[in-house]
Symmetry: C2
Subunit: 274 residues, 2 copies
């Protein structure tokens, strides 16, 4: 999916919500746990219920890999289900990959050919040749970690060099020599508040993937105040806050309500730039 | 496997070689490609042939994931084969994972419970809470990226802060507050030559996992000159240089010869510290 198509979806549906599909069997309602493939069953219900309120889904690979081959089968089935029934939804595989060139090329093949998702999160630590193999796929996106939502983000990402440039700023600047606004997004945590101003100074036009609203405590309004741009330029993700909203057989309906609530807040924000 | 056991293996077998199991079907001899599970068949032959000359194996997940569920089955079978027939070999899953705390915990569960490997490579960009969940498993190891072997390593890892401390040094120092010499190693590329002196100033006693000898051009002798310590403290990895040494049905024998050649060079280096 290209940028124009993504932006069209956002303004048509009045939402820039991304639903994180992080299925943890231990947190699912009991009725789901008895299914043959509980993860796929759970995802399918969540997707059907939330699809009207979001433009993207972000399965986090950790939650599938931890079940070995069985979990990866659930991941495949989830992606295939989305592609078949919701082809206008953007799919981000949240895998935070990145390795030396020839290995990154293998990961790129995995996610952009084998699974054929739209985007992949990538870690920047290993530099240019760890990122560029992912940029060779037309219509696909790298979502590069810049300033993450977790506490540990302060350990290295805020380190200033001799000129006062912080590591996340260096990542934003340097990576713009490798990709562009049409094939690269950045991860910026919603918990970073006013830091969005600094991000927008260096990356004024890139889409930002924003985790951390909901369970992690970030504010949608703050993110929009400092981060929204004229074609929106934001995908705000919520995982736990949406998918574990309910605890019984009506869990999908509870998720839909949480997603709808965020969609309505997003509609307000979008009306300000419309 | 704990440090004492690993060191015993190194001095007993007179080698600190790690064989990288990066099976790319396109590079395998034709006779292998016709097998039902070519990757496992290939790995099994390579393992049987090289086991006397190495103390560790490092499957790189990218090469398994790229084949989807089928590839992950080959990975599982490879790990199970090693655990059953070569229980004294150290197994490093090269996956370069790292995410927010609750997600890293899922990855830790995957690799240390589900697959039960000895060690996992982890990317440091997201800081403390992305690394510590892996350190909670007794007898298991985090192998943290410090100064990698690829060209892109210079993009961010050498960035100096205001006090002249480079990012890889900050990673080495900070992470020593999270783990210790008995549950944490560092990745340092063999291509970094004299940088091993700087590494040893900050991490004098940690084991280093050293890729980049062979296909990537690093020198074993340089690595030892600057990096070896009294209990060795090195695992030197070669992947492509060993596993693709042969191109016909005698491929495993060709791999064994390459591995033996490295083992003999390592024996010389070990005799200097013995």
């Amino acid at each position: 999916m290209n940028r124009k198509q993504l932006v069209e979806q956002i303004f048509q549906k009045k939402t820039f919500l991304c639903v994180g599909l992080d299925p943890d069997i231990r947190k699912m309602p009991e009725c789901v746990q008895q299914e043959e493939d509980p993860i796929f069953f759970f995802n399918k219900q969540i997707i059907d219920a939330t699809a009207p309120y979001c433009v993207a889904y972000k399965p986090n690979l950790a939650f599938y890999e931890c079940l070995g081959v069985k979990g990866m089968t659930s991941f495949e089935r989830t992606v295939e289900y989305l592609q078949k029934f919701y082809p206008d939804h953007f799919i981000i595989a949240d895998a935070k990959r990145g390795d030396i060139g020839n290995t990154s090329a293998m990961y790129a093949r995995t996610f952009f050919e084998e699974y054929n998702v739209d985007a992949l999160t990538v870690a920047p630590y290993m530099g240019e040749d760890s990122v560029t193999p992912f940029l060779e796929y037309k219509g696909k996106w790298v979502v590069l970690l810049a300033l993450t939502s977790n506490k540990g983000s302060h350990d290295f990402q805020l380190t200033e060099d001799k000129e006062g440039e912080r590591l996340f700023e260096k990542v934003l600047k340097k990576s713009q020599q490798w990709g562009n606004e049409d094939n690269m997004m950045y991860v910026v945590g919603a918990t970073q508040g006013q830091m969005f101003q600094d991000i927008r100074k260096v990356a004024p036009n890139h889409f930002l993937l924003v985790p951390g609203v909901g369970a992690q405590g970030g504010s949608l309004q703050d993110v929009c105040k400092y981060g929204i741009i004229k074609d929106c330029g934001l995908l705000v993700n919520s995982s736990r806050g949406i998918i574990y909203a309910g605890h019984d057989e009506n869990f999908a309906q509870a998720s839909a309500e949480k997603a709808k609530d965020l969609q309505q807040q997003m509609e307000v924000e979008l009306s300000k730039i419309g």
